[in-house]
Symmetry: C2
DNA sequence: GTATGGGTTCACGCCAGCGTGAAGGTCAAG
DNA sequence: CTTGACCTTCACGCTGGCGTGAACCCATAC
């Protein structure tokens, strides 16, 4: 299938699909006229990519571990290898830190709005 | 006082102080040799700026409302004018949205790590 | 022929508060 | 005179997943 069709099937823009290819996440074949030719399996692959991106993983990390992705009836998950485990743990800590920072920022904002009682 | 002294007093880098000036948050005098000459009151002013930045306000917003800032025994707060109220409310909503998105991202990450039970 | 509606490869824009040299004046001290 | 520690003004780098043209090729219907 061509890029626009995959875009519609997955809900991901054609620009994003080309971007994923630049990042080494997809490797569609090319037909005689130079157009990208995607396989049926790429629909699943794109869904996995989107799931991983929406979980906060960067494209470089995804590129290294995309082959660990498995999709079942209850969504996408990753088969663990030690390096991947460490990487995801580090990400989890980063997200937790961001959450804490965001909460602090939010409460500082409240402090600005409500004058200190006196 | 010169920029390095203000930097030490406030704990803010000289680069940041120049940046605040670019953004219209500070307007130090210049002495004969072209060096920035800061007033004592700028120490308080910088503290107010830092408080507002750490609460998520952007420099352009700070520039418009810095004169509303009051510093008392219990920290910096802002005297409210209607426009400012609206601006801060919008910011609060944005922060809440970011928090929600961050929580969602975090739980998606957990979903990737723990394979679905079957 | 041509008007469309694809497809292609660059390559800059975004959001924002600074970090970090680069190249060069100022000035007190040795 | 010469360090050397300050100061000055540019101006690019960072973080990153795309949006958004720009300029151009392909293919089909009219």
């Amino acid at each position: 299938m061509l890029i626009s069709e995959l875009a519609e099937l997955t809900g991901v823009s054609a620009r994003a699909l080309r971007h994923y290819e630049e990042r080494g996440l997809l490797a569609p074949a090319r037909n005689s006229n130079g157009y990208r030719e995607y396989a049926e399996s790429d629909v699943t692959r794109v869904a996995q990519i989107r799931t991983m991106i929406s979980a906060g993983l960067g494209t470089s990390t995804i590129q290294r571990y995309l082959d660990c992705a498995r999709t079942g009836d209850h969504g996408t998950f990753l088969e663990m290898c030690p390096d991947l485990r460490a990487e995801l743990d580090a990400l989890a800590r980063r997200l937790d830190a961001e959450q804490a920072e965001l909460r602090a920022k939010r409460s500082r904002l409240d402090g600005l709005v409500s004058p200190p009682l006196r």
